[in-house]
């Protein structure tokens, strides 16, 4: 670390890493969309296209001991957290080599070794879980931050309000990260919230909050450093609203009847990878060759992940009911 805990790191190496992580997510998911059309991946598939700067800006700021609760749009979070791309891709396939043994699929990536507590496909359902994780760490005297990601759609759920209240009331070290992409599936923010400035919700619970341009990875990282530092030092919750936009449909089934193509096109130039690349180039921090090199490396990683998933095996049907209950040696 060359900078103090709450200050952004502007080294060239770090900037390249931010870019690399965003490209990793984008290209991984582009491959997933392609595999979906080939019916290699089934079920729901929610892509993070346009929102990558949030996971990439926030998660590397966390420490290994910290915990993460994510949503069903969590491929990027898992990858940035360090869940191997091979096992993430195998999970997308439903193979037993997947990070959730193939049982979860796209929406339920779990990884105990990185304290990744899952993709949760119940909107708002992860928030109470994060409260409990943080409560346990606090009661055990551990200085652990629990980062809880959720969309702005979750803000309309009762569990959001119950959880913010509990976090503030009990003084729990939770970093709430609201990924505000303006649509709860197809329902625009204006149709679901009386107060559309989401960060203000936190004030009702006396939780410190800020909003940040969620498509500017440097800004997200700077805000995340402030936020994580504050949570760790104070032991209290912090609310970070990351304003972003989902460039792809909600899922692969979504015909996007609720928004104009023009609206999407208006947002496209703002997308985090192009923006960051241009910024790096205009500041002479990166050479086009380096971008090509990153892309080639990422493509090789993706090819290896696909090969891993293809070579993976189907769980024998005889094991269908395993892990509904614990077996001897299972984690409590």
């Amino acid at each position: 670390m060359t900078a103090s805990a709450d200050k952004p790191r502007l080294s060239r190496e770090h900037m390249l890493d931010l870019l690399r992580q965003m490209i990793r997510i984008r290209r991984f998911e582009d491959k997933c969309a392609e595999l979906y059309t080939q019916e290699k991946i089934r079920g729901f598939l929610h892509l993070y296209d346009g929102e990558e700067a949030i996971a990439v800006g926030v998660i590397p700021v966390l420490e290994k001991r910290d915990r993460i609760v994510a949503t069903y749009r969590e491929h990027g979070h898992a990858l940035v957290r360090g869940v191997p791309m091979t096992t993430v891709m195998a999970e997308m396939y439903g193979k037993q080599e997947g990070c959730s043994h193939g049982r979860g699929g796209s929406m339920h990536l779990f990884d105990k070794t990185t304290n990744f507590h899952g993709g949760n496909a119940i909107v708002g359902g992860g928030l109470p879980l994060a409260i409990g994780l943080a409560l346990a760490e606090k009661m055990q005297g551990n200085n652990v931050v629990t980062a809880c990601f959720f969309g702005e759609g979750a803000v309309a759920e009762g569990e959001f309000h119950e959880s913010l209240n509990l976090a503030a009331l009990w003084g729990l070290p939770v970093l709430f990260v609201c990924e505000n992409n303006l649509y709860a599936m197809g329902t625009a923010l204006a149709l679901s919230e009386s107060e559309m400035d989401i960060q203000h919700k936190a004030a009702c619970y006396r939780i410190a909050a800020e909003a940040v341009d969620g498509m500017d990875v440097v800004a997200v990282e700077a805000a995340a450093r402030r936020a994580v530092h504050t949570v760790r030092e104070s032991g209290k919750p912090y609310f970070l609203e990351c304003r972003t936009y989902r460039l792809r449909p909600h899922s692969m089934f979504d015909p996007q009847l609720y928004r104009d193509k023009a609206e999407v096109e208006k947002w496209r130039p703002n997308e985090p990878i192009v923006r960051f690349k241009e910024w790096l180039q205009s500041n002479h921090m990166i050479h086009p060759d380096e971008v090509s090199r990153i892309e080639a490396e990422v493509d090789a990683e993706i090819a290896a992940a696909v090969a891993f998933a293809e070579a993976g095996t189907w769980e024998p049907v005889e094991q269908l009911t395993r892990f509904t209950y614990a077996e001897i040696g299972s984690p409590a």
Binding site: R67, G98, C99, S100, H101, G102, R103, G104, H108, F110, D111, K112, H117, G118, N120, I122, G125, L127, P128, L129, A130, I131, G132, L133, A134, L135, A136, E137, M139, Q140, G158, E159, E162, S163, N165, L166, L169, T321, R322, F323, T324, Y325, A326, E327, S330, P331, A332
Partner: protein, 335 residues
Amino acid sequence: MQDQTAQSGTKEITYREAVREALRDALKRDSRVFLMGEDVGRYGGCYAVSHGLLAEFGPERIRDTPLSESGFTGAGIGAAMAGLRPIVEVMTVNFSLLALDQILNTAATVRHMSGNQFGVPVVIRMATGAGRQLAAQHSHSLEGWYAHIPGIKVLAPATLEDARGMLWTALQDPEPVLIFENDMMYNLAGKLAADAGPVDISKAAVRRSGRDVSLITYGGSLWKTLEAATALATEGIEAEVIDLRSLRPLDDATIMASVAKTRRAVIVDEGWRSGSLAAEIGMRIVEQSFWSLDAPIGRVCSEEVPVPYPRHLEIAALPQAPKIVAAAKAALGRK
């Protein structure tokens, strides 16, 4: 715990006190255990079960919560995942519906969905049942709904021994365990062994042995069923009474062994009849013991109506000993 009776002796105790002793014992034995729920601390528990525990264990471990059933039940689930052993108290099963999302979509699914990486060793206690004229939002028996869910275990302690002994065993279990305490039983008094401790939570118990008909029940209905069995005995009918104890998993072996002996079965369940736990048990008997049966299986369940307030209507809505006697006699072809 203050009882001075010799180890081999017994002591007078209520069901409420037995649950409290179980809580106190667990809190003393395991520093990871804590109790949280609405009014468990300063108020002493809605049914006075946790009275006195706040003074003994402090507000961190006897944790009053806001009226946020989903929030604090989910918090219990998360805390269990992170290494603690929370006991979540939900005031009544009716209120637990506000936490059903967390219980079903998180607690019951996480082990499977994560490929066995995470377990949720939480215990969730709640009151169930009618009989106190609390009307249609505080009186239902929905434990059968919970017993439908793979991934959790469901217990119904009906005796002082089980009220005292099931909690610790449930806390040792790697799964989410729901414990349903029938609210008519909190004042139940009787003798309990001074050294009573943890009990098995996997087997049903034969509470009365008999050869003529099997009466299969659980929870608060056990006492009405035993009363019915006593009445039947005066007419020369020897009923066997099975206390299920665990509603999920069900102990089929004990049920089938009894039916093989008596060849007749009546199920007593305070839940509504349609889609009930009684229906499940009846079907299992049909599947596994059809050729042993000498008579159609009978059921005594709650009437299909929201539980009414007036005393006489509430009594009429619930299983009662005379109805159980009548059902048992019908199974025997007697009037």
